[in-house]
């Protein structure tokens, strides 16, 4: 679902978009999924974006961020951030180059060993 081409009140757009997909993007956007601006140059236009989506892109112009940090910085609930990000993904504005460990299985030893080594070095 996309509401592209539907201008108007950004609040209404957010409301409409979010209402349709409260949980659909869970697997794409975990709390710790890193989000970055897409490498496309120039970036796709922002004419169709709402205020919150623009705010996300402004933050990402400074550095990549996790979903949780975007929520905290923008004071938006995670469920809203996820849906805004899903739209920005569709429009080609952002990318999720980082990966979160596949969650369904038990964490692998390589990851745990790397975490352990990192902690020891602190």
């Amino acid at each position: 679902m996309t509401s592209a081409g539907h201008g108007g009140d950004p609040l209404v757009r957010t409301y409409v978009v979010t209402g349709g997909r409260a949980t659909a993007s869970r697997n794409t956007f975990d709390f710790v999924t890193l989000v970055a601006l897409s490498p496309y140059s120039p970036q796709p236009g922002r004419a169709q974006l709402n205020h919150e989506q623009n705010a996300i892109l402004d933050l990402l112009a400074r550095s990549a961020q996790s979903v949780a940090e975007l929520g905290a910085l923008l004071n938006l609930p995670i469920c809203v951030v996820r849906i805004l990000l899903a739209d920005l993904m569709e429009t080609g504005h952002i990318t999720t180059a980082g990966r979160i460990h596949e969650a369904a299985e038990a964490p692998d030893r390589t990851l745990l060993e790397a975490v352990l080594e990192g902690l020891h070095k602190l």
Binding site: L11, V12, T14, Y15, T18, G19, A22, T23, R26, D30, F31, V32, T33, L34, V35, A36, S63, A64, Q65, S66, A68, E69, G71, A72, L73, N75, L76, P77, I78, C79, V80, I83, T95, T96, A97, G98, R99, I100, H101, E102, A103, A106, P107, D108, R109, T110, L111, L112, E113, A114, V115, L116, E117, G118, L119, H120, K121, L122
Partner: protein
């Protein structure tokens, strides 16, 4: 490397790092946010999640008559190496927030349960929640002045923990002490994780 109190800013995220997370659970004022602040390289920040059936009331207009529950979660970030970033999340401990906890726990390595020996009764419901989540955990006793200091074995007995569940003592204000508690958790997770066979 220093904590968020250092003048050194946290490394900037490139977006290509591998990220992982650990939950820090505990009753109110057990010291979750203090612990997260001690190890985090960013000042702990708060993210919110709302619990609504349809996720419909997100337009932030706060219309009267709408009911929503907002759950706040403090978290911190720790760069473990150039390509690995660990997030620590303070987990909401109220049973009614279980759906959010489940979502947060999805993909987490494990849980560090922070407990206060003066309020062990408050820890039991949280222990139950963690067990319902199915995540492995370690118990860290946050040392408070004047609190009883039972031995780890005694705590295991009282809290009915498995013999293998690590019980460590820490000071949530002290970075290396919190780091050691996390090390105990990860070491425990390694013992639960089979050698690679694929």
């Amino acid at each position: 490397m220093k904590g968020c109190t250092s003048s050194e800013p946290a490394p900037v995220l490139r977006g290509t790092e591998v990220t992982t997370k650990i939950l820090v659970a505990g009753h109110l004022s057990a010291g979750k946010t203090t612990l997260i602040g001690s190890v985090s390289q960013i000042r702990p920040v708060t993210t919110e999640e709302t619990m609504t059936s349809a996720g419909a009331d997100v337009d932030r207009t706060d219309l009267p008559g709408k009911t929503k529950t907002t759950v706040a979660m403090d978290f911190g970030r720790l760069h473990l190496n150039d390509n690995l970033v660990l997030y620590l999340f303070g987990a909401p401990g109220q049973p009614r927030f279980f759906p959010i906890l489940q979502d947060l726990a999805h993909g987490a390595l494990g849980v560090l349960l922070l407990a206060d020996t003066r309020r062990l009764d408050d820890t039991y419901p949280i222990l139950e929640l963690i067990e319902d989540l199915g995540l492995p955990y370690a118990v860290a006793i946050n040392r408070f002045d004047g609190a009883p200091e039972p031995t780890a074995d005694r705590l295991r007995e009282v809290m009915r923990l498995e013999a293998t569940t690590p019980v460590v003592t820490c000071d949530a204000r002290d970075r290396s002490s919190c780091r050691d508690a996390l090390i105990a958790l990860i070491t425990h997770l390694l013992t639960l994780t089979p050698e690679p066979s694929r």
